[in-house]
């Protein structure tokens, strides 16, 4: 009883414009569309963490890197107490800053500027995802230990949420405007694809991570075969949000 009441209020707006309002609401949660966004980290944290990132290639995602960072930023060893989650705060800083950097690091030619066909949404998603993977290049030899920390029960929910934000950012930057029921599947599929490629890349010793690119393309093809490019294949992913709507409908909630 209780979950339905809760969901009713969440989905309540849908009665005005069935099938469309929910995705837009959700989209507003994540992407970096707004220009006057506050900086993602307070000043002191930011200066310690950005300095610490420079020590990750040598020291990994460790307390040592944090302490070196603190000293470089004019702080003390003890100042790392400013970061309540310690090393995970450093990993999270990398994830968030690299996600936000995507919109400046990958620029698509605007339509009309180039002869021939404009880049399709699919090609843009591919380019953005590969760019984000490549941004792990300088620290890839340290990334396995980071993935192990991200998988710890305390940090897994935050890590998964950040992965969802990345998928959302990529679809947004690819200018995907469809707001149909494929919204969830697109994000869920891309999250899964990204996570698999991310892990693959930690083992990749090929030049320019060409094997990771091939791995990504192969998985992308698998996904595409199941529907129109990550289309509405609710059965495949079984995305909970999607099925929740169906459950509510079967209970007579008007969505």
């Amino acid at each position: 009883m209780a979950p339905i009441r809760l969901s009713k209020s969440v989905f309540g707006t849908l009665r005005v414009k069935p099938n469309h309002t929910l995705p837009i609401r959700q989209r507003c949660l994540y992407h970096s569309y707004e220009h006057d966004q506050p900086p993602p980290f307070p000043e002191a944290e930011s200066s310690i963490l950005s300095a610490a990132m420079r020590h990750v290639p040598d020291h990994g995602f460790t307390n040592a890197a944090l302490k070196f960072g603190a000293r470089d930023a004019g702080y003390l060893d003890v100042s790392t107490n400013l970061l309540p989650r310690g090393v995970f705060d450093l990993i999270n800083y990398h994830l968030v800053t690299q996600r936000l950097a995507l919109k400046d690091s990958v620029q698509f030619p605007t339509e009309g500027q180039v002869e021939g066909k404009a880049m399709g949404v699919g090609a843009k998603v591919r380019a953005l995802t590969l760019a984000r993977l490549r941004a792990n290049g300088p620290i890839i030899h340290r990334w396995q230990e980071a993935l192990a920390i991200m998988a710890q029960p305390t940090y897994a929910p935050a890590s998964v949420a950040e992965l969802a934000r990345l998928a959302d950012e990529i679809w947004f930057l690819a200018a995907d405007t469809s707001v149909d029921s494929s919204w969830y599947t697109k994000r869920a599929s891309l999250s899964a694809l990204y996570a698999a490629s991310d892990v693959f890349m930690t083992q990749d010793t090929s030049k320019d991570f060409i094997e990771t690119e091939q791995f990504f393309d192969a998985r992308l093809k698998d996904v595409s075969r199941m529907g129109s490019f990550m289309g509405a294949v609710g059965e495949w992913v079984g995305y909970t949000g999607h099925s929740a709507v169906n459950v509510l409908r079967s209970k007579g909630v008007r969505i």
């Binding site: 040592a64 000293r71 702080y75 003390l76 003890v78 107490n81 989650r85």
Partner: protein, 235 residues
Amino acid sequence: MNDLMSLGIHRLWKDHFVRNLNPGRNPLTSSSSSEKGWNILDIAGGTGDIAFRMLDHASTINNDAHTKVTVADINPDMLAEGRKRALETPYARSPRLDFIEANAEKLDMIPDASIDLYTVAFGIRNFTHKEAAIREAYRVLKPGGVFACMEFSKVNNSLFDAVYKRWSFSAIPLIGQVVAGDRDSYQYLVESIERFPSQTEFRDMIKDAGFLVPGQGWEDLTGGIAAIHKGVKPA
């Protein structure tokens, strides 16, 4: 008396408090040029409970033989007890441990910007002027230095709170009377906890003194029976 009050859990809290602050400078991950060890001030540290843990952690976990703790307390009897207990540790006659009689609200003997870490465990509740004590902490800390305070606090779950209040208001003074024949001081203890500012109020007092606070500003222990508040002096 803390033992009775928290049924011995306070020892686990103290272990956590110290481990989390991770005192000491590991020579393997330090640039050689900079100074050695931390300068720690443990206020209201009477019996040396926190100080010994700090020195043990620095030595065994961080291989640091330089970190130094100054224990300050307003009560000479407490300091005597601490000195006595220090004899059972390796630090009794080492320059790494020092005891001074001082009021937390006026630390004239401690120079400005000289301390890496200021700790106060189950002490600030007794201070008459808490703001003055926090201001003194800010003054003696180096830029980047940390203020860390562990204290009993308002329990944050209403059911738990109701049970805990019943327990603390009636049972603790009673136990105190039976065990120590001292009902009044236990009554005082329970009441002073009740009067202590909530986690958010105390966090804001720390911020008002000029500190940066990590995350929400505090960490609850065991459902919020106690809490650890931290502040970092901006560099």
